[in-house]
Structure formats: C-alpha cells, structure tokens
Homo-oligomer: 586 residues x 2
Amino acid sequence: MTGYAAPVRDIRFLLCDLLDVSQQLPGADLSSDIIDPILEAAATFSREVISPLNRSGDEAGCSMPAPGEVRTPAGFREAYQQYCEAGWTSMGCATEDGGQDMPFVLHGLVAEIFSGANMAWTSYPGMSNAAYICLAANGDAQQRKLYLPRIASGQWAGTMCLTEPHAGTDLGLLRTRAVPNMNGSFDLTGTKIFISGGEQDLTENIVHLVLARLPDAPSGTKGISLFVVPKFLHDDDGHLLERNPVTCGSIEHKMGIRANSTCTMNFDGARGWLVGEAGKGLAAMFVMMNHARLGVGISALGQMQAAYQKALAYAEERRQGRAGAGGLGAGPDAIIRHADVRRMLLVQKAYVEGSRALIAWASLQHDLAHRGDAEAGERLALVTPIVKAFVSDCAVECTSLAIQVFGGHGFIRETGVEQHLRDARIIPLYEGANGIQAMDLLGRKVLMDGGERLRLLARDIAGFIEQESGSEQLRPLLSELGSAAKTLDMVTRQIAKSAASDPDLVGSVAVPYLRLCGHVCLAWMWARMAAVGHAKAGSEDPVYADKIATARFYFACLLPEVRSLAVQIEAGSAPVIAVALSHSNH
Amino acid sequence: MTGYAAPVRDIRFLLCDLLDVSQQLPGADLSSDIIDPILEAAATFSREVISPLNRSGDEAGCSMPAPGEVRTPAGFREAYQQYCEAGWTSMGCATEDGGQDMPFVLHGLVAEIFSGANMAWTSYPGMSNAAYICLAANGDAQQRKLYLPRIASGQWAGTMCLTEPHAGTDLGLLRTRAVPNMNGSFDLTGTKIFISGGEQDLTENIVHLVLARLPDAPSGTKGISLFVVPKFLHDDDGHLLERNPVTCGSIEHKMGIRANSTCTMNFDGARGWLVGEAGKGLAAMFVMMNHARLGVGISALGQMQAAYQKALAYAEERRQGRAGAGGLGAGPDAIIRHADVRRMLLVQKAYVEGSRALIAWASLQHDLAHRGDAEAGERLALVTPIVKAFVSDCAVECTSLAIQVFGGHGFIRETGVEQHLRDARIIPLYEGANGIQAMDLLGRKVLMDGGERLRLLARDIAGFIEQESGSEQLRPLLSELGSAAKTLDMVTRQIAKSAASDPDLVGSVAVPYLRLCGHVCLAWMWARMAAVGHAKAGSEDPVYADKIATARFYFACLLPEVRSLAVQIEAGSAPVIAVALSHSNH
C-alpha cells in the first residue's frame, strides 16, 4: 500500500482553473510560484512525517502515565516540533503575531492535506488554531499580545472548553462557576468533558478557553461568559509560573481519532481571566465555532480523500473475476474494470471532488468577507452548516464505500481503510451535531432572514446558468441544475408557509432539507467544473476531460436523490410526530 | 444503560398476527404454548448470559496464547457450554441427529435474539450450523452419522474454508490441493484466510469443510471439490485420535466482531475426505451459502435492533433543549421529544421492523419449500440476496444513526453503541459482498429466468392490493405500493431489453436495483402490517396502532428513495464506464 498522496493536482485545478483566486483576491500573492511550493511542502510533510504515524497512533492511542498527564503516541511530539519549525502553525495567523496571513482559500486546502494524512494528529494544531481565532476576535490588547504569538508559533496550544456532562447541544445548562477575585482575575470551578487536546505532551503550556457563569449571572445562555485559563500561570512576559489547578481527570476511549486526547478537565478554583464582555461568552465562542465548522468539514474531506485513494489503488491491483466490456479477457481482471466497483469509486470521487470545490468556494467567500464583501459573508453563513453536515455525512458514506471496495480485506485493521470510517464518524457528532447544523441552516440561515441568503445563492446559480446557456454540451447539466434549484425554492416556500403554525415542522424536515441544499451546491460546483473542462477542450492535461465525465456521473447517479428528498420534506411533520415512540412498547 | 431486551413482542406479532404460522405450517407445533416459552428462554439467555459478554469480549478480543492456539474472551467458553446444555445448538437440526427440527421461521427469529445480544459470540455456533446444513445436504451416510449429531449437540464445531489470499469473490482462482491416498482419504495442502472460528477453545474438535482441487482437476470453478478435514482425527465412533496438521497461523485484528476468531488456516498435508462428488464442491457449498446469506441478514437485523433499543432508551433519558409542539415547557425536554431525534429513531424502527417482517416471511418460504412448495422455493431464492444485502446496508446506516442519537457520547466506547456499527460493518462484506448479491439478484435470479420469479412476487403484491382494495384507510399506502411495484417492473423491462447488448449494464445498475427491490419488499411488508393493524382496530395492545403509524412513516419518508433509484438505473452504464479512473491521475 502506497502512502498518502496529497491531491495537489485537484487543489491547483480549483485555485487556478475554477476559482482563479489570484484574480479574485488581488494583492494576496496567490500566483503559481507561491502556491506550488506550499502545496508540495505540505504534500511532503504529510506523506513523510504524519501519514506514517496514522496507524501506529491509532493502535497505541493516548495514555495517562501518571494522574493528570497525557502521553501522545510515539512520534507525535517530534512531528509537532517539525510542524512548528516549518511554520505551518502560523499559516493563517496575522503577520503582527508572527503569522503568514495566508488566505483561507489556500490555508483550508492545505489543512485538508494534513487532516487526510492523520486526522488525530492534525486535530492538535487544529484546536490551537480555533483558539487563536477566538482570542484574536475577542481578547483585549494585553491578551492578544500575550497569547496570540505563542499560539501562532505553536509554542503554546489552545483548547475550547464548552461541553459538560449534562450540557452538550444545550449549553444554556452549563454549571461551571467563575468567582471574581480582587485583582480582576476569576477562580473557575467545574467539570468539562470531551475537551480535545485538553492535556498533551506536545507544548509547554495550554491556553484553555472556557465557558462559565459569573455568580450573579442569569440562567440560560445569557449568563455565560468566556474565560481564558492557562495550564501554567505566567507573568506578563509569558514566563511560566506555577501550575494552575486545571487538570485532566481522564481520557476517553473512542471509536476513532484515538491518538487525539479527549479529556475530562477538572477546574478546581483554576485562575482565569474574562475574555470579552460578561454574559457574551456564547457569542464570542461562535466566531470561532463557525470557522471550526468549516474546519471539520475540511477534515471530513481529508478522510474521504484518504480512503478513496486507498480504495482506488487497491482496485487497480486486486484481480478477481472477469469484467464486462472493460475486461481484458485472459485471466482475472483488476477489479477496477468491474462496473460495480467503478460505481463505488465514482461515488467517492464525485463527493470528494465536489466537496472540495464547495469548500474552496466557501473558503474564498471567507476571504472576500474579510475584505469587506458583505454578500460573501452571507454566502459563507449559508453554506457553513452545509459544509459541516453534508460533507461529514458524505465522509461517513464514502469511507464505508472505500471499505466495501476492499471486500473482506477492508475489515482488517492492517489494511488501514477501516480507520478512516472510525475517524470520520466523529465529524457528524462534534462542533454541533449534524441535526443542529440542519436546524441552523433552515431555522436561522433561511427562515429567519426571510430567505434572503438563499435568494443570493439562487441568483448565483441562475447567473451561472445564464452565462453558460450558449454551451450545447452543458445544456443537460444546466437543465438538471436549474430543476434542482427550483425544487429547493419550492420546498423552501412550502416550509416557510407552514413553519409558524407547526412548531415541529423545522425539526422534522431540517435534515433532508440540508441534504437537498448540499446537492444543489454540489450540482452547481460540478456544472462549473464541467464548464471549465469544456473551455479547456483539447488540453493534454487529463484533468479537464476527467471533470466532464465525473460531472456526468454526479448528475446521473447522485443528484437524483433530490427527488426523494423533496417528497420526504413535503410529507411535513405528521409522519414524524404520529408514532408513540417508547422504549416500554418493546 | 439497561441490558439487551429481546424483541419478543414484535416476533409474536409476526408469527401470530402477520404470518399466522401455525396455520401456514400445519403439523409443526407453533402454538403460543410452544412459541412463548422458547422466545422467553432465548430472551433470558441473551440478556443474562451473552449480552453481558458483548463489550468485554470486544475489548479483550481473541488472543493466541501459544502457536496454533486461540483463546476466546473470558466467559465465552462457559456461555457456550450453557448454550449447548440448553439445546440451542440443535434447534434447527433433524430429530435423527438429536435435534428439534424447529421450523426456520421460529429458529431464524430466535437467532436474531442471540445475534443482537452478542454477534461475535453467536457467530461460533452460527458457523457450526452452516457446516451442519452443508454436511446434511452433501455428506454420505457415514459422514452424516459421524458428524451431524456431534455438531448438533455442540460437542464439535464446524467451519467453512473457502477464501484464499488471492481468491475471495473469485473462488475459481483457489489453489489448495487435495492429493488422494490409497485408503480413500486425501492430503490437503494450502492456505485459507478469513476462517471464522477456524480455531477456538470452545469445543473438543472442529470439522473444517474445505474447498480444494484434485491433482487432475480443471482450472476454474469446475475443478473445485469439497472435503471434510477434522482438527483431530478420529475413529469411526468419533473417539479422538492424533492432531491433523491443519493449524491456525494467525488471527486477524479487525474493525469489529473482535471476539470472534478470524483465522488464517494452514493445511500442511492435512487428512481429509471428499464430501459429495469430485468437481461439485462449489455447488455443494452453495446449499449452505444461500442459507448463510439469510443468516447474516438475520445478524444484521440483530445489530440494528440492539443499537436502536440503546438509542431509544438514551433519547428517553437525555434532556437537552426545548422541543417543538411535543415539549413540556419547563426545563429541558427529553430529546425524544425533538422532531429530528424522532426522525432518526423512526428510520431505525421502520427498517428494523420492516426487515424483521421480510426475514420472517422469507423464513416461512424456506419452511414451505422444505414441505415441497416449489413456488415458495422460488420466492426464497429471489429474496435471499435482498435479505443479505438490503438488510445489511440498512444495518450499517441504522447503527450509525443510533450513534448519532447519542451525540458525542455515541463515539465513546463505554456507551456501547459504536460497537454495533463496527460489528455490523462486516455483514455487507462477507458471505458474498453486497455487490455480488446484487449481481446474483439481477443477473441470475431475475434476468436468467426471464423474470419468472419477479412476476411471482408481483402477483403476490397485486393479490394483496386487490384483497385490501376495500379498505379506505389503506388506500394511500396501497397506491404507493402499487406504484413502487410498477417502477420495479418498468426498470426490469428496460434492463432486460439492453443487457444482452451492453455487458456492463448489469454490473452498473445491480446495486441500486437491489435496493429498489428491497424497498418494494419492505413497502409490501409495511402495508401488510398496517392492514393487520387496521383489522385489530380497538385492541388495547398498542402494537397495532404503532404498526399503522410506523407504516405511514415508512411510506412518507423512506419509500420515496425508489424515485431516485429508478433515475439512477435508467442512466444505465454510460456514466459509470465513461470516467478514466486511475490512481496515476492524482
């Protein structure tokens, strides 16, 4: 089995051919001279340093050699040091913090490369990056000066401490208390669970961002404030002082990402400082959360890509049976010649490359929004839950299909492909479960603004169809794309009409609604990629013909799901509510 | 978390209300007086003996304390002895072998109970049962007399040795050689992989049924013969003699069913005897294989049921957020009140109970066929690949949904729900991968007999619709059922027209075709269950109203997949074949 190969060619297609980012983001140096060496360096690091640690890390998992201490698997620490030294931790950080201020459209796709090679390992710097974003947006000048450069360099790590045993989706229930001291600091007491990287042996200090309640805070979400709580206290120059009483009580034994420590963190009067305004903790966290949702969508893409490339290589090597028209006739054929195996590979390919295009486009909206383009910000807000939930659902489906390509060998740990399903399976669960993403999309992003954002997307799609309407070759795809967009418009109107009088409607249909939106987005992306392919007809680079053929597969075999989703949505809440579900009925 | 609760109420509904098995199988004593104590005893054994070993067995896995020896997890051996003593191993065996000759419609549903409680453990006696069936059908009088009673009692175990490293789906490639001795025995040499229970510490002897080639055998499947190779040689009275050189070289480390030993078996001139005719080994094995395919469909149902009941119990306990119309208003609601959680539970419920009905019906066809009903045999042949592949695909989907109901807690091993996905994930892979089932269905069962079997099913469904046509309440369901059946008929005609001229067509569309057939079968079962529900209107037993409401959910939210499947099938082979899939393109 060959090692992880970063999808550099496809990333270049997206940045240069599909999105033309150097045109879209003038001033940001995104020429090939800049992009290519970065992608090649990421490919080399992922292939040579972290991919070899993926299976050994999964087998070993994290351990607790002594109370409160967490040991990451062999090689993780050395890889982390190399990663910091190469400057990867600061890719997206501001230049004033020692970072490279790289546009997210490039940073995000580089993150896919690392995550595809080793999701558990990549989650350590990934969480620090989320903490960086949260502190950059909400910290005061002193906090920013103290923490941001140290997180950017990778010297210190960051975590997000939200969940408590009885408070997951419903953070309004959280109980961790923050009691003010005379000197402006606070003492935090409580228990947080599922804290990724809450303890590890990679960095000299860990900066915990913690949601907690002040003594006089109201109940519910309005009483939640954000605090920064370092593992080691420090002076104003960042020199480490004594240990703060925030300790890891235990680590979880998980289905996947076993090499990433998932910690129960006990705050026993741990010293912390308020970040942003009291009572605005949840809002402060959400700046980071939305970005983290894109981030976990990217990691889902990474797992799909990694599993797909394993399945593709296996299908080219493994010989069983005689294929149909594609068979060679003498002796068993490589299973890639069997139509059913091709179908499984194509489902993966279409979701992988379609999702990557959607993520690249969404990342570009992020960069445009940072430059003041308000509409880009609205587009990003709309597709963020789609990227998180649709792509992670596809990752579960596609990593499972990759196992299927391997037959019985896929079930054996040594083969390495089953790990991708186990690792990917967390993505629909964390950073807001996918059902929550669906309600965010339908309830908040679509219905609460009267469908304004959705009309923006519809106009984008209609504009594209109009622009390409002269293309004879694209016509069948454009027709299907238009029809899917029309279906989305129709079901949205139906839901909007009934949602006020039926309080169960949004919850009943949100998940199929999000999937329908995901397909409309992917159909748009595949039609755009096919358009690029046709524009480059005659090129010797096989990527262009490949995009046209894969788009055709997507439209023929995956997009039709839209029809059944529409019927499900039209059924409304009644079938979901009518059954008297009860355990005691059994 | 409560322990495993066998779905006794639903099984009784199927046997008594839906299928009326005591009427259908006159002479077989299937009255409530007989059925109820058997189901209760199975429920007790599963809850008290093997369910408690499920997670500990998964954590420990199997080990090799010395070369060639396999140790099963703590408690497995004692549980197996109890199981044998209670007579469960001989449920389906002939009375002349000391068995109880129980109809499969009951035996199969009892098997679900054990498999749901502990799939890895249940696979040990499950493989023995498969070996029993194979030997009963193909062994000579002496082999039958020697082996069948010992396997029926559980004293000896059986295995099926088919796969070799380079020969999985394509058994024609197998290389294991059998060289005849002067005394009528054969010496077998070769390596078999993925042998479930190939070595274990549960039984005093293991009877391996092995596919191998005679020296003068032609290549391909026609050169394959079946042999019986005992672990310990024995005299004609079954007294154990010396060890036969068939040894376990290693055990696999797997994603799931970790407590079931999956062995590489080395045959180093191991003594064996021919079973049935030379060169007819594959046909002899297929008697058992078809039954084993029903069996693994049943184990898939068991995993869905087990995961579903965990998710249901958790959803009733866990409180987060405020629900819609179903909410109680004060404080967080149990998540079962949230529409999206209900939807996830209902998908599971509809697939679990629909699959159970289909399996019970198929099992009844098995019993009727054994009584000489040729049409029942044709019905069984048709739905066997559907039971295997459709139900196992549903099991992967539904066990994953059960994890989703738990949110982040579902990813933690201690919760126990993620094990069901890991265990269930093997079912689409073994006993003929699901793609092979789909090709068996479409190629062999439908096209090769000119659609005769499918017309039998269509007549069954049309007869049911006709019979219930007076029911106002059933009308919407009957209309949808008729429409799904018509879609199946239409796509079958299209495929039949083009298959001869397009050698890739069957492979390209077989998987969505099987899924479409699965939905037609489930729609028929749900409509029948709803019909029973309406017939029992006014009963105090909530199961009847529950079936009506769940049928409505199935028709509204799951059956619509038929529409997208039909479009995918109509697209034919072109989109699947057109892409130049290659690893080197990346």
